[in-house]
Structure formats: structure tokens, C-alpha cells
Symmetry: C2
Subunit: 227 residues, 2 copies
């Protein structure tokens, strides 16, 4: 995700806690708005007080948890208003990044996109054939594909922002359980986006991408699990 973390030698407890917390928040194991009591978390993740607090402070800085002075932390609440705002903003920023990528992307970029799509689709087929569940790996490949599309925009900062928005919307998707839809249609949508990108058809690619996000958003909204 965003932030700056050069993973050098051994990983630090704070970073482990950060990753686990992020996974559990994005994965929906920790409900939106729920209180994050330090003592409970130390037992849950088997890490001490200090590393946990450091992890929570990092998360509070990129909006995954809220912090109230002297009252601790809670998972950021989820609302349909925020989801709308999230999708709207994501469409804006990714349109920007995608147009810029298409405009200045080179052959290496094209190959990155192609490869990322290939890996994702291969994983998809495995699901179809073997009826195994979507797991973390699929999400990683999915994220990698979407970021590859934008990766030639020549602004790491913008990419980080898009990455943050991806993570936030992923949380909403996981809150509603929309796995069924994804198995059915998402692969086709991704392929269409890839094709438009490879054709350097910016208008079409942007339109497909925006539709991709809008549809996803509406399904989540329609699931009725948000206030």
C-alpha cells in the first residue's frame, strides 16, 4: 500500500501487526465502526502493546482506522455515502492515470499489462475448473492487474493514491459478499479493458474501467449491508 517501508532485514513486529490488521479490516473480519481494544488485539495477534499501537497509528494515517484522543481506535465506519464518494474519486483518479499511461506507456508497460492479465485469468480458470474459493492470491493478482494499467502514468504519488482507493473499495466489496458475481463476469470485463488498452483506445478503456467500478459499486450498494 502507500507509505514507505523498505523491507530490509528481519520484519518488525509492528509491521506484522500492521499487515494482519489491514488484512482483517479489509477482509471484513473486523466490522466497520467497531472498537479496537488494545488488550483484545494483543491476544488476537500475539504482539505487545507498543508494536500494536504503532501499527494502529500507521493505519490511522491512511484512513483505515479512526483515532480519538484518549479514547483509542476504531475501525473506520462504512456508509453508502462514503462508498459513493470512494467510487467517484476512484473513477476520477484512475481516468487520469489511465489516460496518461496510454499516452506515454512504452512496450515494457504493454507487456506488464499483458502479463498481469494472463496471471489473473489463469487463476480465474483454476477457480472455474476446480471449484476452489477465491483467496488472498486472487486479490493480489487482481490488484496487480489494475495497478499495471496505471503504472505508466509517471507519478508514483498518484499510483499510491489509487492503491489506497483500491484497498478501501476492496473492503466494501468484502463486506457485501459478491463472490458469485465476480466469478461470472469480472474476467470478461478485465479482458475488454486489456484489449482497449492494448489498442491504445483511451476513451474506450476509460469508459470500460469506469463502468467496471460503477457496476461493482452498485452491487455492493444493492446488497443492503450499509447504512
Amino acid at each position: 500500500m502507500a507509505g514507505t517501508a523498505s523491507s530490509n532485514g528481519r520484519e518488525t513486529l509492528a509491521s506484522i501487526a500492521y499487515q494482519k490488521l489491514l488484512d482483517d479490516i479489509v477482509g471484513g473480519q473486523l466490522q466497520p465502526g467497531s472498537k479496537l481494544r488494545l488488550h483484545a488485539l494483543t491476544e488476537r495477534y500475539k504482539v505487545g502493546n507498543s508494536p500494536l499501537r504503532e501499527a494502529l497509528n500507521r493505519l490511522s494515517a491512511n484512513g483505515m482506522v479512526q483515532r480519538e484522543e484518549n479514547r483509542g481506535f476504531r475501525v473506520s465506519p462504512a456508509s453508502s455515502e462514503e462508498l459513493s464518494e470512494l467510487i467517484r474519486t476512484r473513477c476520477w483518479l484512475e481516468e487520469l492515470a489511465l489516460r496518461e499511461s496510454i499516452r506515454r506507456g512504452d512496450v515494457v508497460w504493454e507487456e506488464r499489462v499483458l502479463l498481469a492479465f494472463h496471471r489473473l485469468s489463469r487463476k480465474n480458470r483454476l477457480f472455474d475448473e476446480q471449484f476452489i474459493q477465491f483467496d488472498g492470491t486472487w486479490e493480489d493478482l487482481h490488484r496487480a492487474f489494475h495497478l499495471s494499467l496505471l503504472s505508466a502514468c509517471n507519478s508514483k504519488i498518484l499510483l499510491d493514491f489509487c492503491s489506497q482507493l483500491h484497498e478501501q473499495t476492496l473492503r466494501y466489496r468484502n463486506l457485501s459478499s459478491m463472490k458469485a458475481y465476480r466469478e461470472r463476469h469480472e474476467l470478461d470485463e478485465h479482458r475488454a479493458i486489456r484489449d482497449a488498452v492494448m489498442d491504445r483506445d483511451a476513451d474506450k478503456a476509460v469508459e470500460l474501467l469506469r463502468a467496471h467500478y460503477r457496476v461493482t459499486g452498485e452491487i455492493v450498494l444493492a446488497s443492503g449491508k450499509l447504512t
Copy 2:
């Protein structure tokens, strides 16, 4: 800045440290790339180990400091490449937010812009008349003016991103000492932007805003204090 901090009762030591650190990094008292040794900082800010670490972790999540596992923190380095990227990205995002604000802003928004400009220009005149230095207050009013322009974009997320970029570029401006230029021209530029905005002339407002940022960037680049 970004992040989520409901300031409720008494302020926490970690938040105080966060604010002071941010001020010193943005203000240039802490040199880009310099190592942030815990012991030195505890003496400098008169706070203990833990609150300091929490502050640093927050700052690492929004890019003001870098973190290397088991090797501590350092102020994010500053380079002309990053400044270019910063300005480029800022132009993109603020164009977006400004166009959206002009499109959907209501009367209340117009009044916010007008008021913010008034306060800023009043402060400017005080400087001219009394030869006192730019201080923190001016920066606050300046930030408030720029954010007011974008404040009707209907996306708090986008506003937070713009706010982050503002802070980052402010650091670069403070690294080079470009006070002279600002006293001379910036007020006129701000007035022109305000007028274009009040006329709802999006193209003109965007062009002025982008020029405003580009010129500022070039002055900083020309100051030759970056690698």
C-alpha cells in the same frame, strides 16, 4: 492534514510530537534525508520514546518520513525529480477538484472563497506595510484559501489528497528561500484566481492555478538547492 484525528479532550503527547515534527520537516528545520535518532528527538521535543514513535509512524504513512525496518526513521529525501512529480500530480488533482467545485459549488462556497481570499490579502498588506516576516499564520491562511477553492468538489478524499500535496510542496518552497518573490507577486495571482472562480470560468481558473504552481515550482528548481 489527512488522517483522522478527532480532537476531543486534552491533546495527547503523540499528537503534539506529530505536529512539531511536521512543522519542523515542512519548515525545513529538519533537513531532507537526515536521520531521525530517537534519543535526539526526545531531547528536542521533551517527549518520551513511545509518543515519538507513534508520531513518526503516522508521518511515515503519509510520506513525510521514511521508515526502514530496524534502522529507524529519516526525513524523506527531496529531489528535483520528486518536486516535478509533485507539481505534475498536484496540477492534475487540483484541476479535477477545481472544475468540479466550479460546476457544483453553491453560494456558500463562493462566500467561503471570497472570505478566504480577503483574510489572506489582509495579512499580505500587513506584511507590506509593517515589514514583518511571513509566519505560520500566513501559511495557514494561504492553505485555507487554496483549499477553499476546491472545497465544493464533493469528495473529502480528494480534498485530503490535495491537502497532502500542498504540504509536500510547501516543504520544497521552504527549502529554497523564495520569500521575496512571494511578497511581490503571489497576491496578484491569488486575486486573479479568485476572480476567475467567481466568474465560474473553469478553463481560465484552471489555467491560472496551474501556472501558479508551475511558476512556483520553477523558482524552487532554479534555486539550485536540490539534487
